[in-house]
């Protein structure tokens, strides 16, 4: 039997942190993605520029760099902003908050493109039909547009979530106690790097398989009204 020298428990605690981080970033990213897609499709030029700048920059910069910029840079920026309001205590953001911000921004940038494609694939007639039935814009969005966008966007979002799950490992670099950092700690005390990094790999594979299962279930549910050829 494989002997994890009592660190197995720690790795599982790390796995819980990884799951929390990825779900929190997913929530932030989905909101940013919907906002980004709406901005790209809006007729206001300024909004289009902002959204285009956002996706171009975030998608062209390494995720590790984004994490580092947010973690080390946010303190400086926050303190400068707080200083304007006469608050000059030391402000620090923790690795978890930095991780959620950085990974949420990354997920949001890619999700923007997924949502944009999905929004554009909905025929204009659907909107017109909703208006003809007397629905307001908000109601049309929730009842007609969003359920269909969800169905179209799910495969893309599922892929992005798998990428996000693996990117959470990067936040260990700034000291979040996730799977990766727990493995690092175990390695430094047991001197068995291969064993513990393999254990980490197995945990990530397990999380990937579970996520794939969830996405499959969600897709099946979202597509229940569609006849397959």
């Amino acid at each position: 039997m494989i002997d994890l020298s009592g660190f197995g428990n720690q790795l599982l605690i790390g796995a819980a942190v990884t799951v929390e981080l990825s779900l929190a970033s997913l929530a932030v990213g989905l909101v940013l993605g919907l906002l980004g897609a709406s901005a790209k499709l809006s007729s206001v030029k300024t909004l289009q520029w902002i959204a285009n700048g956002y996706t171009t920059i975030i998608r062209g910069i390494p995720e590790l760099l984004t994490v580092l910029i947010i973690y080390f840079g946010a303190t400086t920026v926050l303190m400068a902003v707080a200083g304007l309001f006469g608050y000059d205590e030391y402000i620090e953001i923790g690795p978890f908050a930095a991780g959620v911000t950085a990974l949420g921004l990354t997920f949001g940038a890619y999700a923007t493109e997924v949502f944009r494609g999905a929004l554009q694939s909905i025929p204009k007639g659907q909107n017109e039909a909703a208006v003809a039935l007397g629905m307001g814009r908000v109601r049309t969005f929730y009842r007609i547009i969003l359920p269909q966008v969800w169905r179209m966007a799910l495969p893309g979002l599922g892929n992005l979530f798998l990428v996000l799950l693996k990117d959470t490992a990067l936040v260990s670099v700034v000291g979040l106690d996730d799977i990766m950092r727990k493995a690092n700690i175990a390695v430094s005390s047991t001197k068995e790097p291969f064993l513990f990094y393999s254990a980490a790999a197995v945990l990530y594979l397990g999380l990937t398989i579970v996520s794939m299962g969830v996405v499959y279930f969600l897709e099946k549910r979202a597509n229940r009204g569609i006849k397959r050829a």
Binding site: G60, I61, L65, L68, I69, K166, A169, F194
Partner: protein, 236 residues
Amino acid sequence: MDFSVVVEYFPKLMQGTWVSLQLIALSVVLGGIFALPIALARISKNPLVSGLPFAYIFFFRGTPLLVQIFLVYYGASQFEVVRESFLWPILREPFWCAIIAFTLNTSAYTAEIFRGAIQAIPVGEVEACKVVGMTKVQMYRRILLPRAFGIVLPAYGNEIILMLKGSALASTITILDLTGMARTIIARTYTPIEIFLAAGVIYLAISMVVIAIFKQVEKRQNRYLGPNPVKLPDDV
């Protein structure tokens, strides 16, 4: 904010950029070479042939690149056998460990892209090859691979951009690539925002060059599609 540090340390950042470019170029080329046999084996209908590539691709796409780098750089040294073998001079160097990890990783992703492209070719073309009496090798060399190359380009461009961004992880095993160099400079000057932003701009510039190159190659490769090209699938 004081961007004069960026000017002062610009030569250092360029040194880091050069290391990053070497990492990317080597691993993309090697990864591309390994990817083709993996993809061809993955397509095979014989489960004994396709089983191993399937597991390989699943492992490298299902675990974080950071874990893979650490497995190669720290993990391999756990075994006495490795430390005493002729491979040790290579596995001791962080640069070569990064190349190995990146190559393995990108070959798994690229193999999936190749597989998708080969399978996207209409069955009729395969049948036509058989009808005119081509051997399997001829069919792949003359029809399937050139066709797949055109289909593969957009997704392959994406993969190179992903590799560019993944190369930043080399900094975690003490390599002074662009990110590693930026972190070293910051440790000395304590100007994280300025230097990290400068590094970000350099990464952006590299990815824009890659995108521009791929646009040109794509235009050339798909020119038989005429002035109104058919839209090819460009999502991975």
